[in-house]
């Protein structure tokens, strides 16, 4: 049995992280009491009119610039008409024939996935059916949230490739800070159009759409299931019907929702309440100003300027916040201790962040702290365990100072030779037996003396200097 050729096109709904909704000034914050984040516009009260949120337009423009896509100077909003209780106006304001963003490309592992278009639209509210047999609850907090729907051409050939594309896109929208990408909260949802054929000579097979996938794992499962379902159907000489299917998480199967014959007629027409959306040069400039150096370019920069390996540089650019934190540290170090900074961030600091389920940038350990600790490490003023202790102390203090912690805890390496020699004399003399054994050739006892002296100094002696002085003393004095 030969494997079928799979053709996939993806539509991703990215919720833009603007302060207010797409057409009203209501807040977009998640997690509030139902229907608290609504205005008369979101509820669709008679007489209300939409006003486009400029921030959403700028974020859309940032996306277009980031993938070098066509940014249309003029785009048109349209009404998509259908009845549902969580759609207060009974139409969704979206863009149909004239979207804000035209063709572009997203490169995934050296393969170009072509973007067909991306458009702005408002989200609907939520219907809550569970728990009540006789009624449905409506929460309109989500109604009017800004979405950017990003549509690919049918360029994807496997579930794995789809996931790679989605992860890349997910990383990008978070990195350029146009979305929080929170999949549990529905800020990044995906519809997949899937068809198969048995050979590349055949025309594309009948397309089936799977709607509302909201985790990478489910997307992969859904596509894989759908491909084998279609394959099996073809093997049995069944016809694949054009339809919309839903992925059922519990069974891992896709189930038919509606066929093409029953597809709704949305009666699109231009939204008369909104003039055409015009992208001005000034707006493009604003988008450019807001756009950070893109991850791929930043990786190259970091490798060159801070001598990180590619893996390390990619690690730094996992998120905008991490990249920012690292870059701030780099700016503040006086000893160019980039590698040490990297190790501190992805070692002790990451451990604390993960343990406490915080995100980088919000903790009390600041870039200037990390930079200073790295400097002290390079200057051998402190030891690695001391660095760890300082970071832990900083984590638990607000506006903590590295020097103050060092002073309070006495965390400074002793470099002073005369002071160390005094200690060495004292310790060696208090262990005459061991000194004799050392003299007799049991040189392993060097570490015993180091340990004893460290105990005396509470670990503050610089180990390198100490062992040098100690072996010299033992050789000469005994």
């Amino acid at each position: 049995m030969t494997a079928p050729l799979v053709t996939i096109g993806l539509e991703v709904h990215v919720q833009l992280n603007t302060k207010s909704k797409l057409f009203s000034s209501s807040s977009t914050e998640f997690g509030h009491q139902p229907n608290k984040m609504t205005s008369e516009i979101d509820v669709g009260l008679p007489g209300t009119l939409p006003v486009i949120n400029k921030e959403a337009v700028i974020k859309a423009a940032m996306f277009a610039l980031s993938i070098d896509a066509q940014l249309n100077e003029k785009s048109i909003f349209a009404r998509k008409n259908y009845f549902y209780p969580d759609l207060p106006k009974s139409y969704q304001i979206t863009q149909e024939a004239y979207p804000i963003i035209g063709e572009g490309v997203l490169k995934v592992d050296n393969k170009e996935i072509r973007i067909e278009r991306a458009h702005l639209e408002e989200d609907a509210g939520k219907s809550i059916h569970d728990g009540h047999s006789s009624y449905t609850l409506i929460d309109l907090n989500r109604a009017g949230q800004p979405l950017l729907e990003i549509v690919t051409k049918p360029d994807i050939t496997s579930a794995q490739e789809a996931i790679k594309y989605l992860k890349k896109l997910h990383h990008l929208v978070r990195y350029i800070d146009i979305s929080d990408g929170n999949m549990q909260e529905g800020s990044f949802r995906c519809d997949a159009n899937i068809s198969i054929r048995m050979s590349s000579d055949e025309p594309l097979g009948t397309r089936v759409e799977i709607k509302n996938l909201n985790s990478f794992r489910f997307i992969e499962k859904a596509i894989d299931y759908e491909v084998s379902r279609q394959h099996l159907a073809l093997m049995n000489n069944e016809k694949i019907i054009q339809e919309t299917r839903l992925f059922q998480e519990s069974s891992g199967k896709t189930l038919s929702m509606r066929s093409k014959e029953n597809a709704a007629d949305y009666r699109y027409f231009p939204e008369p309440d909104l003039p055409p959306l015009v992208i001005t040069e000034a707006l493009i400039q604003q988008a450019k100003d807001n756009l950070p150096t893109l991850p791929e370019k930043r990786v190259q920069e970091l490798m060159l300027s801070t001598h990180l390996s590619m893996d390390e540089a990619e690690m730094v650019t996992t998120s905008r916040a991490t990249e920012y934190f690292y870059s701030e540290c780099v700016k503040k170090t006086n000893t160019q201790s980039y590698k040490t900074i990297y190790n501190l961030i992805f070692g002790e600091l990451s451990a604390l962040i993960n343990k406490n389920q915080k995100s980088i940038g919000f903790q009390s350990v600041k870039p200037e702290h990390i930079a200073l600790i790295a400097d002290y490490l390079s200057e051998k003023k402190i030891s690695q365990p001391m660095a760890k202790e300082i970071i832990n102390a900083l984590w638990h203090t607000n506006n903590g100072s590295v020097d103050k912690i060092i002073q309070e805890k006495g965390l400074r390496l002793v470099h002073d030779d005369s002071k160390l020699i005094q200690l060495i004399e004292k310790v060696v003399h208090s262990f005459p037996e061991q000194a004799q054994q050392y003299k007799d050739g049991k040189t392993k006892l060097l570490s015993f003396f180091v340990g004893q002296i460290m105990k005396e100094t509470k670990g503050n002696a610089d180990p390198g200097t100490l062992s040098k002085l100690l072996s010299k003393y033992l050789k000469e004095s005994l």
């Binding site: 007489g47 009119l49 009845f83 139409y91 008369p272 309440d273």
Partner: protein, 486 residues
């Protein structure tokens, strides 16, 4: 004080400024007229003397001689599709019969800020769909000039109310003639402003790309006073535009020399009542007396404007009115229904026949497979019409037509809705092209007033008002009042 309802706004302002009358007395006067006469004509559907007098008291507190707010203390009636927190906003429909808006329309806020007294809301065709005010859930409005006649629509309540002297000013809204046609039937001056000149924020939508709020009053000058208040760009309406104009001041100037008015030669293709023809001819003569020149023009797309309108307006209405389904607000059919049943029963019971007819037409013309045949074609007709107007306004300043081909007709005059639609022929082109147009009284036929319409180029509303103002000074047609409401 007697006969305050026959005074012009200019005179009322003087009375208030000179403390010859208080806002309270003036408001009482008009409220009393509503209480006395409204039961005869059913023009006002929301009215509360206490609410009106409370506002008047506050205004009397703050009245100064300052010219900054000339209309303070002057009563006004709002059409009942303009949202106001003082009264219900019903749209003349069972669907919103108990609807209380939690916010004010931009226009209402501007009127409040000016110090106008909102004394009530006027009856109207349901959701502004109708030409005779026969589709209101709250019953017919009677024409004060002759009670067997319709007042016109959809702003029939506003027209009848001002004609009967219930208020010196009223707002109307005009989607295909809803200010101008009732103004013509009731002997008023009514202006449909340039699209975008007045914010639609808080105007309950019928057809968003055509709807426009405008003033209705006895004279062009009275309309100008209201235009000075309501033409302020509104950030909450993306289609609203800045219109920098002092309308009343502009009227004081003489009309510019060499004004040219075009008369479409296509008028002769339509059946026009002889009484309207006669008044039209006399209007031309009176205007010539003002040194206005007439030219013949061609407006060949005029005939196609009507079918285009009856596609575009229903298309938009089918979408605008989809929110009235029982889910969130307004009338709901109660009972153990499925969602589909709730929708269908709510809309079946909540909407009247005419509204349902237009929703169905609109839904049909937007359907897959039919858009190209209807909606797209209508849009391209609109485009042609705009091009034609552009050409016309390069050779003349205004276009003169009758407002409507007949005087006010009798109730149930049209058995077939399409026949009634056809009566909107002269008023529709201005809406399709966003142009300002004004209807003013131009004659009488027996007891009934007859109107004429002037159409101007975009943002020439002030010039329209000025020309009609001078016409009215010369002819005095605006100073006739219906017999029973002296």
């Amino acid at each position: 004080m007697k006969n305050l309802h026959t005074q012009s706004i200019r005179e009322l302002i003087k009375l208030i400024e000179n403390r010859l009358i208080s806002a309270y007395e003036l408001t009482s006067y008009f409220c009393d007229r509503i209480q006395t006469y409204n039961s005869k004509i059913n023009a006002v559907i929301s009215f509360d003397k206490d609410i009106a007098l409370d506002q008047a008291k506050q205004i009397d507190h703050r009245i100064t001689k300052k010219k900054s707010s000339p209309l303070q203390g002057i009563p006004i009636l709002q059409k009942d599709l303009i949202c106001s927190t003082k009264f219900k906003t019903t749209c003349g429909s069972k669907m919103l019969a108990n609807y209380q808006s939690p916010f004010n329309a931009h226009v209402v806020n501007l009127c409040d800020a000016e110090g106008l007294i909102e004394i009530g809301k006027t009856n109207m065709d349901e959701f502004a769909m109708g030409s005779s005010n026969e589709t209101s859930y709250f019953g017919n409005v009677l024409n004060p000039w002759e009670h067997t006649r319709v007042p016109g629509g959809s702003s029939g309540g506003a027209a009848a109310a001002v004609a009967a002297g219930f208020a010196p000013l009223a707002t109307g809204s005009d989607t295909g003639g809803s200010i101008r046609q009732p103004s013509s039937f009731c002997g008023l001056t009514g202006l449909k402003p340039t699209y975008g000149a007045v914010s639609r924020n808080g105007l309950i939508a019928f057809a968003s790309s055509l709807d426009q709020i405008g003033p209705m009053a006895k004279s062009a000058e009275d309309c100008a006073y209201l235009m000075d208040v309501i033409t302020k760009k509104d950030p909450k309406d993306s289609t609203s535009q800045q219109y920098d104009m002092q309308f009343v001041d502009y009227l004081k100037n003489d009309i510019p020399p060499k004004i040219k008015i075009g008369i479409p030669k296509e008028l002769k293709n339509f059946t026009i009542d002889s009484s309207v023809e006669k008044a039209f001819g006399e209007t031309v003569q009176s205007l010539k007396g003002l040194n206005v020149e007439f030219v013949e023009i061609s407006l060949s797309s005029m005939e196609l404007a009507l079918p285009a309108y009856y596609i575009i307006a229903p298309a938009e209405c089918s979408s605008n009115l989809a929110r009235y389904n029982g889910a969130l607000f307004g009338y709901r059919h109660e009972g153990d229904n499925s969602l589909q049943e709730m929708y269908s029963k709510t809309r079946t019971e909540g909407f009247g026949k005419e509204v349902k007819r237009r929703i169905i037409i609109g839904t049909f013309v937007l359907s897959k497979g039919f858009q190209g045949q209807y909606y797209q074609k209508a849009l391209s007709l609109c485009h042609n019409l705009k091009m034609e107007f552009k050409k016309i306004f390069s050779i003349c300043d205004f276009i003169l037509t009758p407002t409507i081909s007949t005087p006010a007709f009798e109730f149930n005059a049209y058995k077939n809705p399409v026949e009634m639609y056809q009566s909107d022929l002269f008023t529709i082109p201005a809406n399709l092209c966003g142009l300002p147009a004004i209807s003013f009284q131009a004659g009488m036929h027996g007891k009934l007033p007859i109107g004429a319409q002037l159409i101007g180029n975009h943002f020439k509303d002030h010039e329209l008002l000025q020309l009609v103002h001078h016409f009215q000074k010369a002819t005095g047609w605006h100073e006739i009042y219906p017999e029973d409401y002296q």
